[in-house]
């Protein structure tokens, strides 16, 4: 069984608002899939439906090929961390994890200490959860996820509130879990650069619809280099370029700047064409789009995550 998570025509409606439109999604074994979308795009709702916290309005969820009554059993092989993890505020980390260890029928008592060591909370023995910083709470949430040696992690904003060092540690940890333990990961985050460093698949969601689903290779291909030229007369430059290259894909930006998405390999010829025809080229550069720029180009808007 290669598919860990599969959804078929999944929808979610809240009164008059449709948060998830018929959504088909498959997560395959070994993938680290980043779910990317703006606030309100439907990411958390999608995660909550997968976790069973919310009921879908229609459609089906299959986990490890199981659905219906068998879903709960299959869910035990997946660890979910959706939004802020909740723990007993008056309990220490050990007590909180012990509560869940008993609940999930994990026999090995040492596992509590092992996962606390993995996330760097082993030293905080006496501190109560209510006194934890946001980053510590997130770490404990990840520790809880790891408690049952899951085959798949579903993490909604797991690095929220972590400092730079913490983010790096969690990234390394997730990479290690994926490589050494073959744990499949579905993750969302506001920090797109982190996702870029971690994921090997990128799914873009907008208004409850998956608008793009790319592998890392394809994303790199799609967000490949573009030429940025600043000239003294953009209208004339565009005219020259379009006359010389019929298939040219360009965008005129403010301040006489032109972005050319193709013909990057002909950059020298393009430059010469403009100069020889009397267009002054003030600046000529080749730039690669990062995930953030690609995301903004795809889903638009000023807020991302």
């Amino acid at each position: 069984m290669d598919s860990i998570i599969q959804t078929y025509q999944l929808t979610k409606k809240f009164k008059n608002e449709t948060v998830l439109k018929p959504l088909d999604f498959t997560l395959k074994k070994g993938e680290i899939c980043a779910l990317i979308g703006k606030n309100g795009a439907g990411k958390s709702t999608f995660f909550k439906i997968l976790a069973g916290q919310q009921m879908p309005s229609s459609g089906e969820v299959h986990l490890f090929g199981k659905s219906g009554r068998e879903l709960e059993k299959a869910k035990r092989r997946i660890a979910f961390m959706v939004e802020t993890p909740a723990f007993f505020p008056d309990f220490t980390a050990v007590q909180n994890l012990e509560y869940f260890r008993i609940q999930r029928g994990i026999v090995d008592k040492k596992r509590v200490y092992e996962v606390l060591e993995i996330v760097g909370l082993k030293q905080e023995k006496k501190k109560r959860f209510r006194d934890y910083s946001m980053g510590m709470k997130q770490r404990l949430g990840i520790a809880l996820c790891l408690l049952g040696n899951p085959d798949c992690l579903v993490l909604d904003e797991p690095i929220n509130g972590l400092d730079v060092e913490g983010i790096m540690e969690i990234r390394q940890l997730l990479k290690k879990l994926s490589q050494e333990n073959q744990i499949t990961i579905l993750i969302s985050s506001h920090i797109l650069t982190e996702l870029n460093l971690l994921a090997n698949r990128f799914v873009f969601i907008k208004n409850g619809v998956i608008v793009e689903d790319l592998s890392k290779v394809l994303l790199e291909e799609k967000s490949k280099k573009q030429i940025l030229i600043t000239v003294d007369d953009s209208a004339k430059a565009v005219q020259l370029l379009e006359r010389a290259y019929a298939d040219i894909q360009l965008k005129v930006l403010p301040d006489h700047e032109i972005a050319i998405q193709n013909h990057v390999e002909n950059s020298g010829k393009l430059n010469r064409l403009l100069v020889e025809n009397g267009v002054m080229v003030k600046q000529f550069s080749i730039k690669t789009l990062d995930l953030e720029e690609y995301f903004l180009g795809l889903v638009g808007g000023d807020q991302h995550g």
């Binding site: 976790a51 916290q53 035990r76 660890a79 959706v82 723990f87 007993f88 012990e98 008993i102 609940q103």
Partner: protein, 249 residues
């Protein structure tokens, strides 16, 4: 289910506030008995230093016991409700959560009640003047109270699990267990066929039970069990069904 109950038991054992509430109740019971004993010994013609009067306080406190039960529910299911979403994520069914929490909370509440009752019987028997049949009558009215008190407990649990606000829960409890009888009597008076329905309201039944104890002639009554069972079944079945479909996030 066993694992979930074990984990909740682990949590329950570490709820200091809950244990302190129980201890406080026992101290108040002992204090009441001590006060009655003190005045009985030191005041001539003090009429209340009797086991019958002592027991009548519990018989009259049906609503208070229901509210204490609600407090136990709030402590064990209310504040910790945010953790339920994680249990659900880990594949524990809503049904297991609903019934496990009920069984555990009820078990603890019943334990507190049984200890409290034993303490009362012990203090009433050793410190206060005996009146004929007082202990027997107290046990009879206690048996009559059980289904009504439990129905209040179940209703409180169902409402708490359904995330109903505390103020609304208290209002519902007060309406059903404090004023429903009067309300029905007033509303159904014009309908001859229904004007006796108020007699089966929980508050009317609790009141009748108290009066029968005061009169010294209580009897076991099936009506307490029928009404208690009806409220309990309705609360639990509807509650469990709604909880199974509820979004928990």
């Amino acid at each position: 289910m066993v694992n979930y109950m074990k984990s909740e038991y682990y949590r329950l054992l570490r709820k200091k506030g809950l244990h302190l509430t129980g201890i406080l109740c026992y101290i108040l019971i002992a204090f009441a008995a001590a006060v009655l004993y003190f005045f009985g010994e030191n005041e001539a013609n003090f009429p209340y230093a009797t086991d019958r009067f002592f027991y009548s306080n519990v018989t009259a406190a049906g609503l208070v016991i229901i509210i204490i039960g609600l407090l136990y529910n709030m402590a064990l299911t209310g504040k910790d409700r945010s953790l339920i979403k994680q249990s659900i994520s880990f594949g524990i069914s809503r049904s297991i959560i609903f019934w496990s929490k009920l069984i555990l909370t009820l078990g603890y509440f019943l334990l507190v009640c049984v200890i409290g009752m034993c303490l009362m019987l012990l203090l009433g028997d050793t410190l206060l003047t005996h009146e004929p049949e007082a202990m027997r009558n107290f046990l009879i009215v206690s048996v009559n109270m059980i289904p009504i008190v439990l129905s209040g407990f179940f209703l409180g649990h169902a409402l708490k699990m359904l995330k109903v606000g505390d103020v609304y829960i208290i209002i519902v409890m007060l309406v059903i267990f404090a004023i429903l009888g009067d309300l029905l009597r007033f509303l159904l008076r014009p309908f001859a066929a229904l004007d006796a329905v108020y007699k089966y309201a929980p508050d009317t039944l609790l009141n009748d039970n108290l009066m029968s104890f005061v009169d010294g002639a209580p009897q076991l009554g099936i009506q307490y069990w029928i009404v208690g069972l009806m409220i309990s079944l309705a609360a639990l079945l509807i509650g469990a069904r709604m909880f199974a479909k509820q979004n928990i996030d």
